[in-house]
């Protein structure tokens, strides 16, 4: 009896710690907006010193790209933690602290000006992830996971030690020099390795799949990985070889992610989808020096990926429930289409960007790849227990998924807002990319891309298309009601 009371108390304490972690993360997202939005809204940036550690050296830099990523990360992690099941807190004693550690690490990455701040921030984020995942791995695997998370950053450490990485800020004087090819290779390899690490975690740790606390975290870690390549563009562009290398590495990552998604089931399959999204972002950031549209698209895909992972209904990944104990999970039913809708404009931008730099192959394959991802994601979720949640929690869980799903739907229907409020300022922060010209927002219809000769190269009238779908849906709804009225059978004949 006393043990049971003690267990309940512990569960309550852990729930409280997770709730605090969620509130801290959501608060951090709001705080960043309050502190930096007025500044970056005017197109300015702010170099920040290391305060207690290095008071006389600028090691952080607040610009629009950092704000977009930092706020999106804290928001997505906050939503993920907020969606925790109450009883999941039992085995997550340190989850609240480790999640905050992970978030602080990633925020250090987001605002890093000094390469060491970025490297150490990612190590801290990795430590937080490992700490959060610790309850689900045991024995040698526990140490192997810590070591593997650390090893993934070695290529980055190497290029920093060799002095090849300059601060992530535009040069004050002189022209911008392109990054050495070795840096492009190292960054690309680190990003792909980190994005695929999540797949290894999902597939290798069955227990991680049993509890969504652990299932979503590697996904967030993977989808945030391409930020490293984006950060590099703040200081300098890639040269032609660097562009080619990153496009190649991204394409290899796409193939690898699809292979994982096709050859695994359930959460493992979703991990493959996440890795592929990260690889698509790498392609976009790789092509960025030639086409700013690709950079804008890559930012979009990365941010949409973060919100999508937060919207995944992996909390229902339990196999011991009877059908009578479950209800349909809203998130499980819409995850595939929402992935497609939320990231569609980003993929569209990367495709047009790829055509601008004569990478026609990438332009042609991106939509089919994304279609496959959406179908695999949907199939993985639908064919698993993820389509349902326990009846007792259905209302609570479904309501928690509403916010990220609403965000992605809004971005899909009204991409002009994301383009004007997030992408333009973010791209402006990149010295390696020119200003976002050519992309035109038509408030009532959608997005257009014009060439220098004013020819329309691409058009995504998303708002207009959404209106068409809405009108068609309303007409069909009433037709169906009419059909049901006409086909109503007499009570005696009804089965």
């Amino acid at each position: 009896m006393r043990d049971s009371e003690h267990g309940d108390k512990e569960a309550k304490a852990n729930s409280l710690s997770l709730l605090l972690a969620a509130l801290i993360n959501l608060g951090l997202a709001a705080l960043q907006l309050v502190l930096f939005l007025p500044l970056v809204g005017e197109g300015r940036s702010l170099d920040l010193p290391g305060w207690l550690v290095l008071p006389y050296r600028f090691i952080y830099r607040a610009d629009s790209l950092a704000l977009a990523f930092g706020a999106a990360w804290a928001f997505a992690l906050g939503l993920t933690v907020l969606g925790l099941r109450r009883d999941s807190a039992r085995d997550s004693r340190w989850a609240g602290i480790s999640l905050c550690l992970m978030s602080f690490g990633m925020l250090s990455v987001a605002y890093a000006r000094d390469p060491w701040a970025l490297y150490l921030g990612w190590e801290v984020a990795g430590l937080g992830l490992w700490w959060a995942l610790r309850p689900v791995c045991s024995g040698r695997r526990k140490y192997l996971s810590a070591l593997s998370l650390h090893i993934l950053g070695w290529p980055l450490l190497l290029v920093i030690l060799l002095g090849l990485v300059s601060p992530f800020a535009p040069p004050v004087t002189g022209s911008v020099q392109a990054w050495p090819v070795a840096v492009a290779v190292a960054f690309g390899v680190v990003v792909l390795a980190r994005s695929l690490w999540a797949s290894w975690a999902y597939i290798g740790w069955p227990r991680a799949n049993a509890n969504f606390v652990y299932a979503r975290l590697p996904g967030l870690y993977a989808v945030a990985a391409p930020y490293l390549v984006a950060k590099a563009l703040v200081a300098a562009p890639w040269d032609a070889v660097g562009v080619w290398v990153l496009a190649l590495l991204g394409t290899i990552g796409v193939l690898g992610g699809i292979a994982v998604a096709l050859n695994t089931e359930g959460v493992g399959s979703v991990a493959g989808v996440v890795a592929t999204m990260a690889a698509i972002s790498v392609i976009g950031f790789g092509l960025a020096p030639g086409s700013l549209l690709a950079a804008a698209g890559a930012i979009w895909v990365m941010l949409a990926g973060l919100v999508w992972v937060a919207a995944l209904p992996v909390d229902a990944w339990r196999t011991n429930l009877r059908p009578a104990e479950t209800e349909a999970s809203f998130g499980g039913y819409v995850a595939g289409p929402i992935l497609l809708l939320g990231a569609l404009a980003g993929v569209w931008l990367i495709s047009q960007g790829a055509l601008n730099v004569k990478y026609g192959l990438i332009a042609a394959i991106l939509l089919p790849v994304f279609a496959l991802l959406a179908l695999i994601g949907q199939k993985a979720l639908f064919n698993s227990k993820l389509k349902t949640v326990p009846s007792s929690e259905a209302k609570d869980q479904n309501s928690k998924l509403l916010l990220p799903i609403a965000f992605l739907t809004f971005a899909a229907i009204f991409p002009q807002s994301v383009a004007d409020w997030v992408l333009r300022p973010s791209v402006q922060a990149m010295a390696g990319v020119s200003a976002l010209q050519g992309l035109e927002s038509q408030l009532g219809v959608g997005l257009l891309v014009r060439s220098q000769q004013e020819t329309v190269l691409a058009a995504l009238p998303a708002t207009g298309m959404a209106l068409a779908v809405f009108l068609a849906f309303v007409a069909l709804y009433w037709l169906k009601r009419l059909a049901l009225l006409l086909l109503r059978e007499p009570p005696g004949k009804a089965r």
């Binding site: 289409p337 042609a364 959406a374 199939k379 298309m465 069909l476 059909a483």
Partner: protein, 257 residues
Amino acid sequence: MAELSAFSDWTLALLSRLFIYPGGLWMLIALLWLRLAVGMSTEYRVPSTEGRVLPTTNSVLGTRYSVLVRANLPALAAGWAALALLPLPGVALLPVPCDRFSLAALIVVSLALDSRDREEWGWTETSLSVAITLAAMTPVAGGKGLFIREPGIGLADWLSASAVVAGLVGLLPGAARDLSGAVRWLAWLGLGIAPLWGIQPAVLLGVYWVSLVYLVAVAILAGLGLAARRRGGTGTISLIAWSLALASLVAALLLAG
């Protein structure tokens, strides 16, 4: 004000497309023709989840298992919108027309929405749909933009059209099974055989030319589909569609610029 007028112009142009041609009335006639062509054979009758054979009636409101009552409305609405927005000859001009990516994406969204309640959703269907999407996108690989103003009639375009047509033969069971599949099928056809829209005879108005092409194409593809299904060649169809799509991609890249 200019932004509002753009929205207003779009809506006005959309209404005739959505409810008259190529959506609405024209779509209904095309659907009836498609269902007549493929639905007469028992080959396409599909078992329900309870093991009964659902009648694939040619009537839209025929039975309590009517296609409309069973339809997945969001998927059907997305497919309908995609068909209405196609750049077919004779359609009302939109102030901002959709590029090829947007149209293909809208059809794929319809597919993704439809896959939610398909327990029987198979890999062949997924594979064919992805192959068709690739084939639809390959003509842009050699160009400067996602817009194809003048439908091309080069090798890559014809290979792309052939790949879409081959894929559609494989997707006929899906078109016969539900209304959203059928509408998507019509939309893919309109997008895929774009080279034909560029060779419209001067004596025929746009709507008649499109209707004639659809009439003939549906009849031929339904016949091919039945023949392929009787021989159990769905895998072969998928292989052909993928091969043609990849050939189209290679041709587009090699013949670019």
